[in-house]
């Protein structure tokens, strides 16, 4: 990539992040279309633009500058861009990687926040993993049951709230006892490396890129 294209890509990413932060749904779609029209990486635009915007929204939510209405509109802006970029990103993934294996992904019981899970899912798909999306607010028993049905190598669990960390711990314990061969990765705003270690997970990552790297390592593909 030439320096000028790198510069423009970086500007587009920043503007995408800002569009999400500004709750500007139309602008997010417009910028995503520019990424497609000028054939910049859809994957980078999602990671460094849309996801970065949602991370900033999350910061404002934590500091009580934003509340639920703002987060919902920001999520709509992110999804509008994401839906435009997703087909291209999957093409990019197919071009660069083969089949990596199968991952089940879920938001733990008691938590309905699935934006983070959806972004990680998309990134893993782009990397060549096949995803089984178990949804949000999923009880440990349902997760364990679903893991019997397919040849799952990795389970990815997400939560946004501290109040559901105990549920994550219970889920990991249930999966460990019934499916010891399956690797478990955990993530979400309140999940730290020490928490992941304490509950017996195989690893955690602070963002979607990290989750992809971790999954590749655990699948023996890094």
């Amino acid at each position: 990539m030439t320096e000028i294209r790198k510069y423009i890509a970086s500007e587009l990413h920043e503007q995408l992040a800002q569009a999400v932060l500004d709750l500007d749904v139309a602008r997010a779609a417009e910028l995503a279309q520019l990424v497609l029209d000028y054939r910049y990486s859809a994957r980078d635009a999602i990671l460094n633009g849309l996801s970065e915007g949602m991370r900033r929204v999350g910061d404002r939510f934590c500091s009580h500058e934003f509340f639920v209405p703002e987060v919902l509109v920001a999520a709509r802006a992110m999804y509008r861009g994401l839906n435009l970029l997703k087909p291209r990103m999957l093409e990019e993934g197919e071009a660069s990687s083969g089949y990596r294996g199968k991952i089940a992904i879920a938001v733990v019981e008691g938590d309905l926040h699935d934006i983070g899970k959806n972004v990680v899912k998309l990134m893993l798909e782009a990397e060549g993993f096949e995803l089984l999306d178990l949804g949000k607010n999923v009880p440990p028993t349902v997760i364990s049951e679903m893991l019997q049905k397919d040849n799952i190598q990795i389970l990815a669990l997400s939560t946004l709230m501290t109040s559901t960390l105990a549920g994550m711990k219970n889920t990991v314990a249930a999966v460990r006892s019934q499916h010891p061969q399956i690797k478990v990765i955990v993530g979400g705003a309140p999940v730290s490396a020490s928490f992941a270690n304490d509950i017996g997970a195989d690893g955690t990552a602070g963002d979607a890129s990290g989750a992809v790297r971790l999954a590749l390592t655990l699948a023996g593909q890094s």
Partner: protein, 337 residues
């Protein structure tokens, strides 16, 4: 004046009378559970609802009670369609368009006539013994529940004028419903499950919810009745506003007690505080844990106008013994105990 009424009045005044004023907030679901009765049936019959709530009141012997079926009564009347499982609270099957909310007549639409009849019976049977509060929702919450909460929250930013029109329809409906309740002698608690500080923040709360809440509360007071406001979730972002609201009491689920006490130190009139016993502890705590938490809460607010109550309505299948423990512990509590 009955002992319960006396305790309630004393608690509103913050006079430090013992035993303290206490009640669990009981809705139809827990009342049905206590009698092992079909909830769906109770939610459709004034007599069954009144019987179940009166039975719960007699079992727990709280110092006040609410007449509350489920959160969707007014949303259903205004136009959304509900699904009623046999033994669980209803949920929305089909939401309304925000520009399609209909004007309701409380004597005619949905389950509003049933609620009026149930409130009338409970007031007739228990109103002289204890304060009975008919529960209605604030107009913002009714509109949000009827239209689908997430979609409605987005409207606040994307189409605020449309959101305002929906809230205004809901406001006029709630005024008529309130008037019908006041005519039968009810005290009223306004429930705000969606107009919550943790959901809306101060700006949206003030812009979209506050005006209606203040008007309804003022209307209740001007009729000479007791006016309460219950706000679900985290109230810290709107605590200063809530502390000046024209209610006799505000029932809060989660907030900073220290900040509340600071807000009360300005010499101005403020509502009494109702709440805020944690639901998890009520549901599963040991006797010792319940007593310890209650003592911590009561000592923190001793000398301030405070009515001890559960932070929200008691969960449907909360064991009866847990609620009994809560009420008995409050009856025994002494500030130096």
């Amino acid at each position: 004046m009955s002992p319960a009424w006396e305790r309630f009045r004393a608690a509103l005044a913050g006079s430090g009378q013992l035993p303290i004023c206490v009640a669990p907030l009981i809705a139809a679901d827990h009342a049905a559970f206590l009698q092992n009765k079909n909830l769906r049936s109770i939610l459709h019959s004034a007599d069954e609802l009144a019987d179940a709530l009166i039975n719960a009141q007699k079992r727990y012997n709280g110092d006040f009670m609410i007449v509350f079926a489920d959160v969707y009564v007014e949303a259903e009347a205004i136009g959304c369609r509900l699904e009623f499982p046999e033994d669980a609270p209803p949920h929305i099957e089909k939401t309304c368009s925000p520009d399609g909310l209909r004007a309701t007549i409380p004597q005619r639409d949905g389950r509003l006539p049933m609620m009026l009849a149930a409130a009338k019976r409970v007031i007739a049977e228990l109103g002289e013994l204890i304060p009975v509060f008919a529960s209605i929702k604030d107009p913002f919450s009714v509109a949000a529940l009827a239209c689908g909460a997430e979609e409605f929250f987005e409207l606040l930013i994307s189409q605020p004028a449309l959101a305002r029109r929906a809230i205004e329809v809901s406001h006029q409906n709630q005024l008529r419903y309130l008037e019908a309740l006041l005519e039968m002698g009810a005290n009223v608690i306004l429930g705000a499950p969606m107009a919550s500080g943790g959901i809306l923040g101060e700006k949206h709360f003030k812009t979209f919810a506050l005006e209606s809440i203040v008007e309804l509360l003022s209307h209740i007071r001007s009729a000479g009745r007791l006016a309460g406001l219950h706000i679900c979730g985290d109230s810290d972002p709107i605590l200063a506003t809530i502390s000046r609201i024209p209610a006799h009491f505000v029932s809060l689920e989660s907030f900073s007690v220290e900040r509340w006490k600071e807000l009360l130190s300005d010499g101005q009139p403020h509502p009494a505080l109702m709440g805020y016993f944690p639901m998890d502890l009520l549901n599963r705590g040991s006797v010792e844990q319940i007593e310890a938490e209650m003592s911590r809460e009561l000592k923190a607010l001793w000398g301030f106008p405070h009515i001890l109550a559960t932070a929200c309505d008691v969960p449907q299948r909360c064991p009866e013994s847990q609620v009994q423990t809560f009420v008995k512990a409050a009856r025994r509590w002494r500030p130096n105990g």
